[in-house]
Symmetry: C2
Subunit: 128 residues, 2 copies
DNA sequence: TAGTTGTCCTATATGATCTAGGACAATAGG
DNA sequence: CCTATTGTCCTAGATCATATAGGACAACTA
């Protein structure tokens, strides 16, 4: 696992670390039990203060993505029963979609136009 | 035109004003030539400092959404030949869609599953 | 025992955001 | 001409999030 930090990004550094870990886990590049690099190592390599990296790891643990123990390091957690997370994921995504559709209605966009736009973005985003 | 400002939102107040004007224009609630409320009036009604509102109006003028003259006020600009407002609406919606797709990717959802979910919500939301 | 690791702590710096209010030119309407 | 309105410009300060800096310590490993 290596991090790419952009100091000029509007996104905070600690958030970039969080997102990159989450993405790596979702993409399968990091699997349950895999160890994350040590906070101080990440800090050195990315030239970021160690407290900033620690903040990211702390948040990741609070969200249940990793487990961490002093002296050992931080490790990707087991997923647990897949069905539960799956249902919750669907609910979260449905809310986002509803919000998007509400905006489309405000713009008086036709249904076909919205679908076309979704497909257009899908082809660009390269899902999975 | 009236504004709804949420001081607890992570989105800056001036950005909320900008977005609400843009959305109103894109949705057709504000049309070319329509006058925006005076900066000081908006500030009073929303209990926001007048400089904050002025910053939003300034940004809207720089983006070509409105034209403004001291002593007169601010007015929605003509669209021009290209359908600028329409294009802006598409961009706003594309951003929302991208955000949604990013979340879907985090959830490791297949493309087909996302599309199915969009269609499911579409049929419930009754677009237009 | 010595080194690694995560954690906690205080202190400081910076930038964005927001507030506060003074001052002024352009405009509109008597 | 006079007055009120409107947008604009200015300085000043408060607050918050982010990030840096480094000291200290407990848990763990070899």
């Amino acid at each position: 696992m290596l991090f790419r930090i952009d100091l000029n990004s509007p996104k905070p550094v600690y958030q970039q670390v969080i997102d990159q870990v989450k993405y790596a886990v979702a993409a399968g590049r990091l699997r349950a039990g895999d160890r994350l690099p040590a906070i101080r190592d990440v800090a050195t390599q990315t030239r970021v203060n160690r407290n900033t990296v620690a903040r990211a790891y702390l948040e990741l643990e609070r969200e249940g993505v990793i487990r961490t123990n002093a002296g050992q390091g931080s490790f990707v957690r087991d997923e647990g029963p897949a069905g539960v997370h799956r249902a919750r994921a669907r609910r979260v995504l449905a809310d986002l979609i509803d919000e998007m559709l509400a905006q489309a209605r405000q713009f008086q966009m036709a249904e076909a136009e919205v679908i076309a736009l979704v497909n257009e973005r899908l082809s660009k985003v390269e899902l999975e």
